[in-house]
Amino acid sequence: MEERELIARVRAGDGASERALYDAHVDRVYRLAYRLAGDDQLAREFTQDTFVRAFERLASFRGEAKLSTWLHAIATSVVLNGLRKVKRFRRREADLDDAAGVAGGRRAAEPDLKRRLAQAIDDLPHGYRTVFVMHDVEGYTHEEIGASLGVETGTSKAQLSRARARLREALADFAGEWAS
């Protein structure tokens, strides 16, 4: 079934077409949500929220972009906004832990390369991290990233380059391992 026809059927309230649309896109949305959130429960919530919003707003989809691009724009918005809230909440929790003298086990203290890389990615600025995960981890093109985040393709490329530079810098003491 063509995308346009599928959308028309979903708009008409056809449940089977809704499910078909969901099946066609859910893997990629969930993978991105999981990669950015690093937590199954959050990834599920973000994915569900993305599809709930998409079904509600499908009437306003004009078909100027591909459905997947439109859907991923909703997904990135849901995930990034959700993560901001989670980050604020966790910061408050961390402040409370600090006040109570609870020592947090930082991942950076562990000398394992994989963990250091994960920590370095986590520590990237929000925009850099999103572009890095979308491009280098999940294989999105710069055009897709630009359309999803509402930025120019050049901005996406520049952010990826800066993200890699930061990671390289953060992992400099592992240069020997990388090279071997």
Binding site: Y30, R31, Y34, D40, V52, F55, L117
Partner: protein, 208 residues
């Protein structure tokens, strides 16, 4: 290490970053269906004022019946309950009436003040709708045995209904008509006389 080599290794290593498990398709689909269903029901409720009021009134009635049955089933010395129940019941109605009149007075005072400076906010219509249900309950309660209070409640019901029906984009004429009605029937003055300012017990010493 060259940039190219670093980037290749970085991409390979990054595949392990927050590696997702298999997509829980069915569970998420059920979650989506449940959320959409709940939102649909909420929209239906919001869009249908009769249903909303009906549910509100039903909830109040159910609560009242529940409290009534619960208090009736409480063990206790029957003679004391029998001699005191009339006064205590009337006192409870008076307290409820005082609280209701205080809320209504606040709403009408705010409405009049907003009406002078421009168009009153839509929140007044919402509050008026809430209070309308209570007005009906008050009119059907023993508190309305007092002729003066019943007259006041009748006027309040009319004014609250007018405010509740104010359309968000309507003209100022409706607002002016409500204000005229308030003044002509001295609603606020009667309201304040019936419900003098002060803490709860003092208020019930007014015309109530």
């Amino acid at each position: 290490m060259t940039d190219e080599r670093f980037e290749r290794l970085l991409r390979e290593a990054a595949q392990q970053y927050h590696r997702p498990p298999a997509t829980p398709r069915e569970e998420m689909w059920l979650g989506i269906a449940a959320t959409r269903d709940a939102r649909r029901r909420r929209r239906l409720l919001v869009a249908n004022p009769w249903l909303r009021w009906g549910l509100g009134i039903a909830a109040v009635l159910a609560l009242g019946i529940g409290i009534g049955r619960w208090t009736a089933s409480l063990p206790g010395p029957a003679p004391v309950v029998a001699t005191g129940s009339g006064d205590q019941g009337l006192f409870a109605y008076r307290v409820a009436a005082a609280q209701y009149l205080t809320r209504t007075e606040a709403l009408l005072t705010g409405f009049r003040s907003e009406a002078r400076s421009g168009r009153p906010d839509a929140q007044f219509a919402r509050q008026a709708r809430d209070l309308l249900g209570t007005t009906r309950l008050m009119l059907d309660s023993p508190a309305a045995q007092d002729a003066r209070l019943k007259g006041l409640l009748d006027d309040l019901e009319l004014v609250l209904a007018q405010i509740a029906q104010l359309s968000p984009h309507g003209d100022n004429e409706e607002v002016q008509l409500i204000n005229q009605g308030l003044e002509q029937r001295s609603v606020l003055l009667r309201l304040r006389t019936a419900n003098p300012a002060g803490p709860g017990p003092v208020r019930t010493q007014g015309a109530l």
